[in-house]
């Protein structure tokens, strides 16, 4: 089995461990600022809906304290959500290395996923209505793992998304060529 040969060619694990390239310190490429606008629009339409509901309650409900309570809770939640959307924008980032792609997202809980090119199953680009409005696209990368291991990078310029997709597809087939 060639796995055994491979193990033998890599004997000095402890030293090598520290010299291996780290995925924490890579320079991340930011996503387009249009993504922030998209998220803000989405959130604001929710805000409008909730505000309309509160106004409706205000005119139809006898107990004002209840309406006030709901409005207050909604206000606090929305403040938090706006804060989160704003903070999140700076965390979004991706980085293509020679052998893998790294994607980082989330402010409260920052999640970084690394997918090696030789594990990518297929790639797709999807654009919603808002995406078209803001001229951005989402690049989706699928693996054979559970849905947790798939990544979708939002807020990419359409040309960039297409180029990235092409680059990834080329990487995938290169890897397969190597396998024989």
């Amino acid at each position: 089995m060639d796995s055994i040969n491979q193990g033998e060619s890599f004997k000095n694990e402890i030293i090598a461990l520290d010299s291996l390239p780290g995925f924490q310190e890579v320079p991340y490429n930011p996503v387009s600022g249009e993504l922030l606008s998209k998220h803000l629009i989405q959130l604001s339409s929710w805000l409008l809906a909730v505000a309309a509901f509160c106004i409706f309650l205000f005119y139809n409900q006898q107990e004002d304290w209840l309406t006030a309570g709901i409005a207050l809770v909604a206000f606090v939640i929305f403040c938090f959500l706006y804060f989160n959307v704003w903070k999140m924008q700076k965390v979004y980032g991706y980085c293509l290395r020679e052998k893998d792609i790294i994607y980082r997202r989330g402010y409260i809980i920052t999640k970084t996923t690394v997918i090696s090119f030789n594990r990518i199953q297929h790639v797709s680009i999807s654009r919603g209505i808002l995406d078209k409005l803001f001229k951005i696209a989402t690049l989706k990368i699928f693996t054979a793992g559970g849905s947790g291991s798939d990544i979708s990078i939002p807020g990419l310029k359409p040309e960039l998304a297409r180029n990235l997709k092409e680059a990834l597809v080329r990487k995938i087939s290169e890897d397969d060529g190597g396998r024989v």
């Binding site: 920052t110 996923t113 090119f117 999807s126 693996t143 054979a144």
Partner: protein, 470 residues
């Protein structure tokens, strides 16, 4: 729901003016649906890109999806037919790639010739470096180098030493359905029956009745657990051939699986203190999941002796135990997280004494403290038992309070890795890890950031390997 509403309005015939509005709005909706269907039909386009060796699909009306599947990532091409499709005489062509069902590509209406032509192209282009299963199966029939059989006494031992909670749950589900049925049947007589029951139960002393009831339930749970073990694992026979493990078992439906080392994603070996004394180990093997083999991606082999278990492991993973490179345990914050979560039901149940007169506060306090003592000790033991180890080619997660499990997975078979750092972890320098395998995710919480070195190492193993992983 839409149709129900329409039907209702047609039958019911309310006053005329609203009916007009309703008709208009239905007409608008219908037009919308027709237009949407038309555009979704027109925008649904697929073609084959020979130069890049890809199948390409575009779809979406308002949104747009662009999907590219490389030929050699296609696992299978299937035809499917629903009733409506039978009537119109078309097929669904399903292009199955590895991974969950959500990842398949479906072309909903395609005629037979086109479907066949397309599947022909896709299949022939797909580089076939894997022998089809049936072929190997036959060649495996010939000789076996090692064999393991489960005797009836071992089966009985497994049944008696298993976790009875499952059997207990089954009984509970059984009785609650029966109780519900009876309740519906004798709704009127219920009052009377309850009164009669009250007269009998109170003087005899409820503690005694509960005691008996408990014993009966325990007995039934054991019985059911043993029966289940017999049905599932009767006549278990494990054979090792040149390139796979052949497993046969089952009383009613005979399960027959061939396990190839290449396909194995996770190997879990479980035992509990009693079974350990009896030298009984259970192996659970998780294979790469794909749509066509749904529900069959987990194989349980109970009743292995320690020696047999290590043999299975050795065969599936090609070698024995390795030297551990690093070992990690979760930080104490993980224990606090567990305890906090277990407090939620207590907080919620506070509603009962507050809102209902019948439930008194003291009773609630007694029950919740019993619950808390049990759950906290459970959480403590669970926290203590968690361990993550890396060796040269594997990562190993061990955990378990009663049923102790050791999950071993090959590093090079990983699909992706994720690292989560919630902001309250950052000060402490902790991270949550998720290993994405083709057989499911394995996660490990609240580990020191030091572990990232090993994650880099795992990626190194994935990226330098060109072995088949499924």
């Amino acid at each position: 729901m839409f149709w129900a509403l329409l039907f209702y309005l047609l039958i019911k015939q309310p006053s005329e003016i609203p009916l007009l509005y309703v008709n208009i709005s239905f007409a608008v909706i219908l037009l919308g649906v027709v237009l949407y269907s038309y555009f979704s039909y027109r925008n649904f386009q697929f073609h084959i890109d020979y130069s890049k060796e890809e199948f390409i699909l575009r779809k979406g009306v308002f949104s747009s999806d662009y999907l590219a599947v490389p030929f050699d990532k296609i696992q299978q091409v299937n035809f499917e037919r629903g009733i409506l499709q039978r009537i119109i005489g078309v097929y669904s062509l399903v292009i199955d790639t590895a991974g969950s069902a959500a990842k398949e590509v479906k072309i909903k209406a395609i005629n037979r010739e086109e479907a066949e032509a397309l599947s022909e192209i896709l299949i022939s282009r797909k580089k076939e470096h894997v022998k089809p299963d049936s072929e190997i199966e036959q060649e495996a029939e010939e000789k076996s180098s090692w064999e393991y059989r489960l005797s009836l006494s071992t089966l009985l031992k497994i049944g008696l030493s298993s976790n009875f909670f499952r059997g207990f749950g089954l009984i509970l589900a059984f009785f609650s359905t029966i109780f519900n049925e009876l309740n519906n049947l004798f709704n009127e007589e219920k009052e009377m029956l309850l009164q009669a029951a009250g007269k009998v139960a109170v003087p005899t002393g409820s503690a005694f009745i509960y005691g008996i009831l408990f014993l009966v339930l325990l007995f039934l749970s054991i019985l059911i657990t043993v029966a289940e073990v017999f049905i599932k694992y009767y006549n278990l026979n494990l054979k090792q051939t040149k390139d796979r493990l052949l497993l046969e078992m089952g009383l009613r439906t005979n399960t027959r699986v061939g396990l190839q080392p290449r396909r194995v994603q996770i190997l879990s070996i479980t035992t509990n203190p009693i079974q350990q004394k009896l030298d009984l180990w259970e192996a659970r093997i998780t294979l790469a999941s794909s749509r066509s083999k749904k529900g069959k991606n987990k194989v349980n082999i109970p009743g292995l002796t320690g020696e047999a278990a290590s043999r299975v492991k050795e065969f599936l993973y090609h070698r024995r135990e390795e030297i551990t490179l690093a070992s990690y345990r979760p930080h104490t914050v993980d224990l606090f997280r567990r305890i906090n979560i277990s407090l939620i039901p207590v907080g919620l149940s506070l509603v009962f004494p507050l809102a209902m007169a019948e439930v008194n506060f003291a009773e609630w306090a007694v029950f919740s403290s019993i619950y808390l003592v049990i759950i906290t000790s459970y959480n403590y033991l669970m926290h203590k038992s968690l361990r993550l180890e890396f060796s040269e080619d594997f990562f190993v997660k061990s955990y378990g309070v009663w049923d102790k499990t050791v999950q071993t997975s090959e590093l090079y078979k990983l699909q992706a890795v994720s690292v989560k750092s919630p902001f309250w972890y950052k000060r402490r320098g902790l991270v949550n890890l998720i290993f994405h395998t083709a057989g499911g995710d394995i996660s490990f919480r609240a580990v020191d950031e030091e572990v990232l070195k090993l994650m880099n190492y795992s990626l190194y193993k994935v990226e330098t390997s060109n072995l088949a992983w499924m």
